[in-house]
């Protein structure tokens, strides 16, 4: 009997190994912001396509771009598009695939308010510049008719101390709405803050806000929703005060469609449209234009699935999904990946 058993065993092992060799492993790294969404996508995609396994390290956008340029990973992920300088270094050429949308909300600690505060862009910029230092300032009051603001309470600005895509999007917005901000401070993942205290990560900033009456800060929309933080309505380009939500963020992308560059590297802060939330941004997967055959096919299959079946999953995790009219052009971009 032993011979037969051995035969069966060998056959079993042989098929098993063949299967293992047939499975594809993709390694990616980058932005922390879309990590919950991506890990959901990867596990759902593996149910559809058991042969493909995708690993993702959420090490931050900057580090993701670095690893992408060093070619230690199969794909990267970033909240901010790569700069021209970085793009020139990419070999083979890099493609930006927008996957979802995020937003930054302004949160605060003011006890006894009955409704959310409202800000226009220039007032917000002057608060973060330290020019407006009291909550009962006439300009804040002008944005908040009928709201009783605490008299004499000092504004304490809290910001991210770690380099962050959230900071990049927020300061990009402030640079667009305030010439003063643009010339004195500028935008980037880490900047020289004119006022306030720094906290590490969304949780560090939230800690500062919760501990200090009169504090104001910015955090990611998803983080604010998960932690039930108050968030301000912002006056958009059309002059409407808009609350951040997946719907208004998608509207911002919709409003930016006109004049969208072919490589999708675009800022959608301060977008057109009366429903558009002004501090919105894309998050991207970074793909090489040439990939090894097996991996390339698997990655393209995954992207097609993410743009299709994946989008409703994004909404469930309170990410904003891409506008329907963008899906076609993005799929055309995915088709440019050569799997050889």
């Amino acid at each position: 009997m032993s011979k037969r058993v051995l035969l069966v065993l060998t056959a079993f092992l042989a098929t098993h190994f063949c299967q293992a060799a047939g499975s594809t492993l993709l390694n990616g790294a980058g932005a922390t912001f879309p990590y919950p969404l991506y890990s959901k996508w990867f596990s759902e995609f593996q149910k559809v396509k058991p042969g493909v396994e995708i690993n993702y390290q959420s090490i931050g956008s900057g580090a993701g771009i670095k690893q992408f340029l060093d070619k230690t990973i199969d794909f990267g992920a970033s909240d901010a598009p790569m700069t021209d300088e970085q793009l020139a270094k990419a070999q083979p050429a890099a493609l930006h695939i927008p996957t979802a949308l995020g937003a930054v909300v302004v949160t605060y600690n003011l006890p006894g308010l009955s409704k959310p505060l409202q800000f226009s862009g220039d007032v917000l910029a002057d608060i973060f510049l330290g020019k407006i230092s009291k909550w009962d300032d006439a300009r804040i009051a002008k944005d908040n008719a009928g709201v009783k603001l605490p008299a004499g309470l000092a504004i304490m600005v809290a910001h991210r101390s770690d380099g962050s895509g959230t900071t990049a999007v927020f300061t990009d917005y402030l640079s667009k709405v305030s010439a003063d901000w643009k010339s004195k401070v500028g935008s980037g993942t880490a900047i020289k803050w004119p006022a306030g205290l720094g906290g590490k990560g969304n949780e560090g900033v939230t800690g500062l806000v919760k501990q200090t009456p009169g504090a104001i800060a910015y955090v990611e929309l998803i983080y604010a929703e998960a932690n039930k933080l108050p968030s301000a309505l912002l006056k958009n380009r059309a002059g409407v005060y808009v609350a951040a939500s997946p719907r208004t963020v998608t509207a911002a992308a919709q409003g930016s469609l006109k004049g969208m560059p072919k490589d999708f590297r675009v800022s959608i802060t301060q977008a057109e449209g009366k429903d558009a939330y002004p501090i919105s941004s894309f998050t991207y997967l970074l793909a090489y234009s040439k990939m090894e055959a097996g991996k390339g096919r698997a990655f393209k299959e995954f992207l097609a699935w993410a743009l299709d079946k994946g989008q409703p999953l994004a909404e469930g995790l309170s990410y904003a999904s891409l506008p329907k009219s963008m899906i076609g052009p993005i799929k055309a971009k995915v088709a440019q990946i050569q799997a050889e």
């Binding site: 101390s161 380099g163 980037g188 560090g204 501990q211 200090t212």
Partner: protein
């Protein structure tokens, strides 16, 4: 960090005379052992050389652009590629010094008490608890700092200090809670177990006969502790303090969470600051500009230099102390 060993009052073990019969074997073993030790020592040197080389390589663009001005510059603006390290050096030194000022009396006092005065039934569990403090992860200290210590400082301690000692520049300005004082206090708690544990070992090594001699000459308990215990173990205690200082200089996570992260040189202890280790931890992962990354590496190099200078000063201090004591005997 071996400041304690050469001056330690532990008597050297009498040298073992090798048994003549197995002389050859022992020689071989000795040689192998010596080789292993030598390799170990060389490896440490190579490691340090490697670190310095790597840091120098990475910092090169900054060194070329700013030169020595980097060390005294006060501007840190990644958007405009303008970098200066002084606020970070200041923050590291001030927070560590504050921590030492608060931790040393407590740690040394506690270990003297446990060693000389307390009954062993009390001393053992208390010593164990103090050493337990060293095992708590720094992020826990940081969270405790944000959620417990900082609010208490903001609502109670800082207004109280401001009202009574507000004429001093040290205690002026708005009380934020987080800031230099908060960072110093968290660091003090973190380095207390290090200093206490080592000082206790040093005090324990003082021979009982010294204490008996002091008491026999009619010294009171305090005089005995001062004359026979404290004075003779001073170099060891300084070594313990240096180890604590080393931990304070390099501590990253807990400090980042409570110092306020503002690269500013302020005289007030209530004001926020920023340290060298925390700016690296904060900005390195998302730094993209070549000069920004290079400036962060230069901060690392500066931290290395500051640690070396402080260690050298401490060594010199111990050496002076030893010589003075030697002369007095």
């Amino acid at each position: 960090m071996t400041a304690t060993t050469h001056s330690s009052p532990i008597p050297a073990a009498p040298a073992l005379a090798p048994a003549p019969r197995r002389r050859r074997d022992i020689h071989l073993g000795d040689q192998a052992f010596q080789l292993v030790l030598r390799l170990g020592a060389l490896l440490v040197l190579a490691l340090i050389a490697g670190i310095v080389g790597q840091l120098l390589g990475l910092s090169w663009p900054t060194i070329q652009k700013f030169g020595a001005k980097f060390l005294v510059g006060t501007d840190w603006d990644p958007v405009n590629d303008s970098f200066g390290a002084l606020p970070f050096i200041w923050g590291t030194l001030v927070s560590s010094l504050l921590a030492l000022l608060m931790a040393c009396p407590v740690a040394i006092g506690a270990s003297l008490f446990l060693n000389e005065i307390a009954h062993s039934k009390l001393a053992k569990p208390v010593a164990f608890l103090i050493e337990m403090l060293a095992a708590i992860p720094s992020v826990v200290y940081g969270l405790w700092g944000i959620f417990v210590l900082a609010p208490w400082l903001r609502t109670t301690v800082e207004p109280w200090l401001g009202a009574r000692l507000g004429f001093l520049p040290l205690f002026q300005g708005a009380p934020f809670g987080v800031g230099m004082l908060c960072a110093g206090m968290v660091l003090a708690i973190m380095i207390t177990p290090t200093i206490a544990a080592i000082s206790r070992e040093v005090f324990r090594a003082v021979p009982l006969s010294h204490r008996e001699a002091a008491l026999g000459l009619g010294a009171t308990r305090w005089e005995m502790i001062y004359l026979s215990v404290l004075r003779s173990s001073m170099p060891g205690v300084v070594g313990a303090v240096i180890l604590g200082l080393g931990r304070a200089l390099g501590e990253t996570m807990a400090v980042t969470m409570v110092i306020g992260n503002r690269p500013e040189i302020a005289t007030s202890l209530f004001a926020p600051g920023q340290t060298m280790a925390s700016v690296i931890a904060n900005e390195y992962p998302e730094a993209s500009g070549t000069l920004h990354i290079s400036a962060l590496a230069s901060i690392g190099l500066s931290l290395f230099l500051v640690s070396i200078v402080i260690n050298a000063l401490a060594r010199y201090f111990v050496w002076r102390l030893n010589r003075k004591q030697g002369g007095a005997r």
